[in-house]
């Protein structure tokens, strides 16, 4: 089994959801990222999403847009990101690492090169925001050949007729984007999330992780009661930005916010039972 499958299975066995955390690679600088990733793990993150910065992040809200700009202005290159991934894998042999970003930086040197290099440096999965199932041949085949998971996104507009196409070729987990919108904005209503997750889980055995707009431990706990994973991105990215601007160590801020999220996710279901 892959590291992603192992991790979700282990969390399920413990009777809890996985905490999936996102940061933009190279924000605020390529040199700062390894310590930030270590802080995510130390804080209790189960799965790490490493964002590949892009000049034109069309699906992202202001927090991640600015993180991408900071990263690119700090000189972050694709080579830096792959080196960061390789270093992470050496330090954390069992923690799943997923690259998330946009098609153009991923396929620039060819899909096969990207997929094989991901496998080589120990990247477990890839989330590409702007390659829908209809364009799978751009990257999907290469990832499957390299045995790198392709994590697909389902959204509130993905209806029952479309869902099989989204699931076909998806592995690792299914990422449910809980709001029709961009990252870091409002959160969806809990009842609509519950209904959506139930529908998705009826269609697949893959773990379902829910993200977009999840900011606080309470929000994370609410989702952790119904989904296999909770994704938090913009709130962590904002904490990095604030610490960086204040001249503080972003890794310390990251560890603090992730610890709070992790505690909430770990105990969400037991607290619910107690209540």
């Amino acid at each position: 089994m892959s590291r992603l499958a192992d991790t979700f299975a282990a969390c399920a066995k413990e009777g809890r959801a996985a905490l999936v955390t996102f940061v933009t690679g190279g924000d605020p600088s390529p040199a700062a990222t390894p310590a930030i990733l270590d802080a995510l793990v130390a804080g209790g993150a189960d799965v790490i999403e490493l964002g590949m910065p892009f000049t034109d992040p069309m699906a992202d809200g202001p927090a991640i847009q600015q993180a991408d700009i900071r990263s690119l202005q700090a000189g972050t290159t694709t080579r830096h990101l792959l080196d960061i991934a390789k270093g992470f894998r050496a330090r954390h042999p069992t923690v799943p690492l997923v690259l998330m970003g946009y098609a153009n930086p991923m396929v620039r040197r060819g899909a096969q090169w990207f997929a094989e290099t991901c496998a080589e440096v120990g990247v477990d999965g890839v989330i590409c925001v702007d390659i829908p199932p209809e364009e799978d041949d751009m990257l999907g085949a290469a990832l499957r050949a390299a045995k790198v998971d392709l994590v697909r996104l389902a959204t509130p507009t993905t209806d029952a007729a479309r869902l099989p196409a989204v699931l076909d070729g998806c592995s690792g987990f299914l990422y449910y984007v809980s709001v029709a919108g961009i990252t870091g904005m409002q959160q969806a209503a809990q009842t609509s999330i519950e209904q959506a997750v139930a529908k998705l889980k009826a269609g697949t055995d893959l773990p379902v992780a829910v993200g977009f707009g999840v900011r606080t431990p309470d929000q994370a706990a609410a989702i952790a009661r119904v989904a296999d994973g909770v994704v938090v991105g913009s709130a962590i990215v904002e904490a990095i930005a604030e610490a960086h601007e204040a001249g503080q160590d972003p890794a310390v801020a990251v560890r603090s916010i992730v610890s709070g999220l992790s505690a909430a996710v770990q105990t969400a279901r037991t607290r619910e039972q107690a209540a």
């Binding site: 892009f54 000049t55 034109d56 992040p57 069309m58 699906a59 992202d60 809200g61 202001p62 847009q65 700009i69 690119l72 290159t77 694709t78 946009y102 098609a103 153009n104 930086p105 991923m106 396929v107 620039r108 925001v129 702007d130 390659i131 829908p132 209809e134 364009e135 751009m138 697909r152 996104l153 389902a154 959204t155 509130p156 507009t157 993905t158 209806d159 479309r162 989204v166 984007v177 709001v179 029709a180 919108g181 961009i182 904005m185």
Partner: protein, 410 residues
């Protein structure tokens, strides 16, 4: 002519023009663009849709636009051409359309689709402001609220068009992210759209973006080429030897070219903006200076670095200042059917002034790029040959930019 031999049957069922085009969008938008494609097929087959479009094109836009023999321009070029040279130059006068450019052709078509789909809110991106003005215009005509995204830098450069859009009732949102120009306006429009898919129609201004936009924008703009073909047959009794058009995203060019693609004796030349010069890096020539990649929903030639980060285009013309190009142009470039060259800011300024003085027409800076190439080509062609150039916009919006470039205070 059989289907297999036509160049006019693109894209394929998946929206691909050869290796270009496609639908590279977030999952949230996929159901919507699939629905748009279905609705567009239904509209194309509906005589009532065609009748309404034709009526608006005639009575609201002012079509057909004239095909005008630019006699003084032709004669002026002949004076500096070798004996027996200097092709006859015709101008397709799309600058005479309502709102002063070809952009309105597409906006009228798209807003009819929006109404058919029951959408109640219109969004658009704009660079120079011409597409924003055209969108605000049709939104006012159909009584729909309209938000236009415009890069903050373009808001500063094109203040008359910002005011026009506001007069027409549109809300203009200045985009401060990224390079603060057209590509960033398009990013922001996509962000708005993804958050408002239930009620919002995105009127994309050029023949780019996810399928079916490149196809439907081309179809709505093809009125230019269809008219030009009928008009030149009536005036000259034969097809032209060369078509020339400026290219940013390439909607006016594909509109002129597409009806002629299967006429093998008609050569075509697309002109990109070379800005300060292709060797300076400050240009917007995606085909001559870029490489294939994925941006804004389609695979096409892009200005980008070795990591796939998009680089900024430069042109004196805000309408050409985009780091990509419509996917059908990438395909036509690939198969060699259309030739693509580039013209610098300086050359475009010279052509701008040449047309003002020889024909009493103030062209926009976009078609001034095409006119510069026309002057170059006409000199090399025989006097009995014919060129049609697309005069896709008028230059009123550009007089401040031109004055500044010529060092004149107004």
């Amino acid at each position: 002519m059989t289907i297999a031999n036509t160049l006019r049957a693109q894209p394929d069922a998946r929206g691909h023009f050869g290796q270009f085009g496609g639908r590279y969008v977030a999952e949230t938008l996929m159901p919507l663009i699939l629905e748009l494609e279905k609705e567009y097929r239904r509209a194309k087959a509906d005589p009532a849709f065609e009748a309404e479009l034709d009526w608006l094109m005639k009575h609201y836009v002012g079509r057909p636009s004239p095909l005008y023999y630019a006699e003084r321009l032709t004669e002026t070029i002949r004076q500096s051409a070798p004996a027996g040279h200097g092709a006859k130059i015709y101008l397709k006068r799309d600058e005479l359309n309502h709102t002063g450019a070809h952009k309105i052709n597409n906006c009228v078509g798209q807003i009819l689709l929006a109404v058919r789909m029951g959408k109640t809110r219109i969004i658009a991106e704009t660079g120079a402001g011409q597409h924003g003005v055209a969108t605000a215009t049709v939104a006012a005509r159909f009584g729909l609220p309209c938000v236009v995204y415009m890069g903050a830098r373009d808001v500063e450069r094109q203040s008359p068009n910002v005011f026009r859009m506001k007069l027409l009732g549109a809300e203009v949102r200045a985009v401060e992210s990224g390079s603060r120009t057209l590509k960033d306006a398009m990013n922001e429009a996509l962000r708005d759209w993804v958050a408002n898919v239930h009620d919002t129609f995105y009127i994309i201004g050029t023949a780019a973006g996810p399928h079916p936009y490149p196809e439907l924008v081309r179809d709505f703009q093809s009125v230019i080429g269809h008219e030009a073909k009928a008009q030149i047959m009536e005036m000259e009794g034969r097809l032209p030897d060369l078509l020339v058009a400026a290219i940013g995203g390439g909607s006016n060019a594909i509109g002129l070219f597409h009806p002629f693609l299967d006429d093998p004796d008609v050569a075509m030349l697309g002109i990109e903006a070379a800005g300060h010069g292709l060797d300076t890096g400050a240009h917007a020539a995606s085909l001559t200076g870029g490489e294939p990649g994925v941006l804004h929903g389609n695979r096409t030639f892009l200005l980008q670095d070795e990591d796939g980060q998009i680089t900024e285009g430069h042109s004196i013309s805000a309408g050409l200042d985009y780091p990509g190009i419509g996917p059908e142009h990438s395909w036509l470039h690939d198969i060699g059917r259309v030739t693509y060259e580039s013209v610098t800011d300086r050359e475009a300024l010279d052509a701008f002034q040449l047309l003002c003085r020889t024909e009493g027409i103030i062209p926009a800076l976009e078609p001034s790029h095409a006119l510069s190439a026309v002057a170059r080509k006409a000199r090399e062609m025989k006097a009995d040959q014919i060129i049609i150039a697309n005069l896709c916009g008028r230059g009123d919006k550009d007089i401040f930019t031109v004055a500044s470039a010529l060092g004149v205070a107004i």
